[in-house]
């Protein structure tokens, strides 16, 4: 059964087995961090864990790759 995670406090629906990246993309959230120097927005690019563009912090943990990380019920995601 589908469940929700929160993104900056806003609920985002998840189909079980989806990655955080897929759930965000489906909800129209396509950028969730900015680059160190140029402050440019970043989201999914390679989709398979190679490019590290999609780094995201979940439940206060250090950034992980959103395209590899399976969303879990109750996950709280913060974008930069």
């Amino acid at each position: 059964m589908s469940f929700h995670i929160t993104v900056d406090g806003r609920p985002v629906p998840v189909t079980p087995g989806q990655t955080i990246g897929a759930a965000l993309h489906a909800a129209g959230v396509r950028a969730w961090r900015t680059t160190r120097f140029g402050g440019r927005p970043r989201g999914l690019f390679c989709g398979i864990g190679v490019c590290f563009d999609c780094l995201i912090s979940v439940n206060g943990r250090p950034p992980e790759r959103a395209c590899l990380l399976e969303a879990q019920p109750g996950d709280e995601v913060t974008t930069a």
């Binding site: 189909t15 079980p16 087995g17 989806q18 990655t19 990246g21 897929a22 759930a23 993309h25 489906a26 396509r30 950028a31 680059t35 160190r36 120097f37 140029g38 440019r40 927005p41 970043r42 989201g43 999914l44 690019f45 390679c46 989709g47 398979i48 864990g49 190679v50 490019c51 590290f52 563009d53 780094l55 943990r61 250090p62 992980e64 395209c67 590899l68 399976e70």
Partner: protein, 520 residues
């Protein structure tokens, strides 16, 4: 204890290799960083995995994956970052994972040495000891930089495909597909069938159109016709000698510039197409670093990319190390799966020489003296199929080269390296200071020194540095690993040998348990 075989990669090649070896009674572990087995081609949603009945090839793969799960240790969400050699010749496969500790299966735990509890960063190190290694790590997309390629909504073609296949999510609602190679066709078809508008497929090469697509010439008429029909049904234009040469937008992509190109990919004319997503891909880069780390020799693939050099039994130049699928040359999933099986047979022959010779002797038909070793391991029918499919893969690559004109699409401020945010101007500066290869350009301008370790920009940097062909990667580690995982490695405790378990399961013969390839 020590595994007979550790396979890195759970795509078509890795699963076929692991299953072949496990069915012969070898103690096998397969490691993959993903959430589910499948690799790129058989990537699937959790739901599709639980309710088969979709595509026959996927259903067959899922059955094999299920069979593998009962006969071997399958470690998902485990990323291998390095493989090292012990003084006694065994290999240590170093993984990092955030997955919960493995329990349950017969060999679990015993073979996993140096596993440490989840640390503050949530990442754990797991080390597997093995006699043999099969590298089946696949490939990643080869993107080319262009102005705006770092805008959200611009994805690699494979990335868009992975998002759709694995998450059930189309990359946008109005999508443009561009780049070169036959892979653009399934990407566009998949998106169109998912119900979103594909505004066009822009193939930088060619000039002949779908009716004379090289797939036809290569005896893949059915496949090409299938894509052509699907694109026609969804009214998706397929245009050759055209490509996306720039993406525009403030926070996300809102439009692209599509150019007509000459045969060297210089821009002839342009127009703007409004869209909300772009899928771009210019072929694939085989992931060879676990092999190059161990000293495996490489050779340039058709397109110049370094791939691992293997013999007819998929053995690399380093003892105990085999490779199959894209790391030995890009050629698609069928070839990858066949190579996985052949490598699996070779591993079985190496581990249990008597087993293989006794079963192949009965099936060998030729009376000619076989060259020592190889034909017993790879019977002629497989060897010929392997050569044919490899030739097919190479012909496709030859039909879709990357032409130098793309360098003219870049502006001074176009980021070449996305991680370190290095624009073209800084690379030019490095060249004017005398850097004439990717390594010295890297030292001066720092492209490829960020998180992705040059995987994304490596090809482009190599071209822009003026190298005739990209050099094999020299990454000390295959994947970035956190200090937490490294720290938890500090006290590996090798456990007692457990040879007894292997002999109990060694009864199964190395047959051809999954020999039902489609005819093409």
């Amino acid at each position: 204890m020590t595994y007979d075989l550790v396979v890195v990669g759970g795509g078509p090649a890795g699963v076929a290799g692991a299953l072949t070896a496990a069915l012969a009674g070898l103690r096998v572990a397969l490691v993959d960083s993903g959430l589910r087995l499948g690799g790129q081609y058989f990537r699937h949603t959790q739901d599709a995995g639980q309710h088969p009945g979709h595509a026959p090839a996927l259903d067959r793969f899922l059955r094999q994956a299920g069979a593998l799960g009962t006969r071997a240790e399958v470690l998902l969400r485990h990323q291998v970052w390095s493989v090292s050699r012990e003084p006694d010749g065994d290999l240590l496969v170093h993984c990092a994972t955030r997955a919960a500790a493995v329990t349950g299966t017969a060999v679990a735990g015993a073979a996993v040495i140096g596993g440490a509890p989840t640390g503050a960063l949530g990442e754990r190190a797991v080390v597997l000891r093995t006699r043999r290694l099969l590298i089946a790590t696949g490939a990643h997309d080869r993107p080319l930089p262009f102005p705006g390629w770092d805008l959200p909504g611009v994805l690699t073609a494979g990335g868009a495909q992975a998002l759709l296949k694995g998450g059930g999510v189309p990359a946008g609602r109005r999508i443009v597909v561009s780049g070169t190679g036959p892979f653009l066709l399934p990407v566009a078809t998949g998106l169109a069938e998912a119900g979103v508008r594909v505004l066009g497929v822009y193939e930088a090469n060619g000039g002949l159109g779908l009716a004379r697509h090289p797939l036809l010439a290569l005896g893949k008429a059915g496949e090409a016709a299938g894509y052509a029909a699907a694109l026609a049904r969804h009214r998706v234009p397929y245009r050759t000698r055209q490509a996306v040469v720039a993406a525009h937008g403030e926070h996300e992509v809102e439009a692209v510039t599509v150019a007509r190109l000459d045969k060297d990919w210089n821009v002839l004319s342009t127009r703007v197409v409004e869209c909300d997503a772009v899928a771009v891909g210019y072929g694939f880069v085989p992931q060879v670093e676990l092999g190059t780390q161990l000293g495996c020799a490489t050779r340039p693939d058709v397109d110049g990319s370094p791939v691992l050099r293997v013999d007819a039994t998929l053995r690399t130049t380093v003892p105990g190390v085999w490779a199959a699928g894209e790391p030995v040359g890009v050629g698609g999933w069928r070839l990858a799966e066949l190579e996985g099986r052949l490598a699996g047979r070779a591993v079985v022959a190496d581990a249990r020489p008597t087993l293989v010779t006794s079963t192949t002797r009965t099936t060998r038909t030729s009376t000619a003296t076989p060259p020592p070793g190889d034909t017993a391991v790879v019977p002629g029918v497989f060897a010929r199929r392997h050569q044919r499919w490899r030739a097919f893969g190479e012909a496709l690559q030859r039909a879709y080269p990357v032409q130098p004109g793309w360098q003219g699409w870049l502006r001074d401020d176009t980021l070449v390296c996305r991680c370190e945010e290095v624009p073209l101007a800084r690379l030019r500066e490095a060249r004017s200071l005398g850097a004439t290869d990717a390594r010295s350009v890297k030292l001066l301008a720092r492209p490829g020194m960020g998180w992705c370790q040059g995987r994304v920009c490596g090809y482009a940097v190599s071209c822009l540095a003026g190298e005739p062909q990209p050099q094999p990667p020299r990454r000390p580690i295959a994947q970035p690993v956190t200090l937490g995982a490294l720290a938890s490695l500090a006290t590996p405790e090798p456990t007692a040998d457990a040879d007894a378990t292997a002999d109990a399961t060694a009864g199964a013969a190395p047959g051809e348990p999954h020999d039902d390839h489609p005819a093409h």
